[in-house]
Symmetry: C2
Subunit: 228 residues, 2 copies
Amino acid sequence: MNIGTKLITPNARDRFERLHAEIRNRICLLDYAPGMRLSEQVLAEEFGVSRTPLRRVLVRLEGEGLLQSVQGVGTFVTDVEIAELEQTYRLRLELAELTGRLDPVQPDAALWSEFRELADRSHALIGDPDPRHFAQINMDFFLALLRLTENEPLRDISERLYFRTARIWLKSIKASTINMSEEAILFNREVDDILTALQVGDLHAASLIQRAHISMSFQRMLMGVVAH
Amino acid sequence: MNIGTKLITPNARDRFERLHAEIRNRICLLDYAPGMRLSEQVLAEEFGVSRTPLRRVLVRLEGEGLLQSVQGVGTFVTDVEIAELEQTYRLRLELAELTGRLDPVQPDAALWSEFRELADRSHALIGDPDPRHFAQINMDFFLALLRLTENEPLRDISERLYFRTARIWLKSIKASTINMSEEAILFNREVDDILTALQVGDLHAASLIQRAHISMSFQRMLMGVVAH
DNA sequence: AGCTCCTTTGTTGTGCACAGCATCGACTGT
DNA sequence: ACAGTCGATGCTGTGCACAACAAAGGAGCT
């Protein structure tokens, strides 16, 4: 069976995964902004399925804290309170460090080439600071770093928390386009610093650098919120 | 509106929560053992609903890693590989310690009375070492300790990981009934030690004690697995 | 004018019938 | 006797029609 027919004839599970990833991406990239109402019928028609399988995806996303359905009213993209956002970031700091301490694994050839690509993409970002590109690269880089640990539960919950808060970070970045270039430069420094640590095989150092940058990123985000 | 009518006329959301908690409990208390097949139709009839709302619950539980549905075959209670179990326990150790470090909050009167009740229940366990009672008390104690932090994301993921692995611990306890009494005594010591730390207001110490006991509990569990 | 009630409209939630799929067993050809 | 095939069976997945529900708007009364 080639790839073409696989795309044309997806079984139930694959279709579910596709829809899930697609809608999650739209939420995380702010195509669906926090507070926005989603129509089950419209989404179902767009994806060419009935409401039933689509609802399954929405239920999953509700379990992940990205959506909330209210009978008779609608399905809404969740927002994140500043208090909970701070708690999540403090937790993510600790988890980032754990990534370098629990079941760390040296990157293989495939992961290295992915890191190199990410470095190129992030460099290109300085000249063209598009918020959406920025968010996508940031997400890809985070997910790539997660592959440096073999601890699957740790990966799961780190991913979960990232998807829950990344869009709020993106929202604050978009709110102040002046800081976009500066933010892109700082992100490039983060990527370079972490890759340097990885090149000498010090995964724990890499995770500490990541931790520091997450912390600073959140501080800048708070500044931005206060300034506006 | 009194409680009676509320129980008779539950709205959709409450009903969902009830079914979710009920089935999750059955899985965690081994009423539904790992590998067992659940029938959507049988469950739906038992709870007096159609398959549709029940399936919503099952989808959520699948997202939490407790179930897995396969088209044409059935819905199965998941098992946990020994490798993943070890990873999860190592992660839970760290999270337990974080509970005492991130947003700790002193227990209020209600929580204190709950702790006293738990101490009584765990003492009663020594004379009557029933695995199911043991599991229920262990779970209630864990959830009570979680209320010592105000960090909601931390509570969420800790709960999640607990529900995922608690049943495996219970399974290994049930496999060797000889160790039940000994295990109950050790659990009582854990409760007493932690409550002692809480009485002097040292939440971080309490979390470190919990961490130590989780670690030792897992070690004993590995011994039991090797012995059988 | 302002308030109340009711109707209308659009949404998510539910029940049911059927499709898709995997498994098992019987049947048939060799 | 045996292997392969085909059909029966029972499961989850899907589509559709309708119920439950909440919000908005208008009619009618004070």
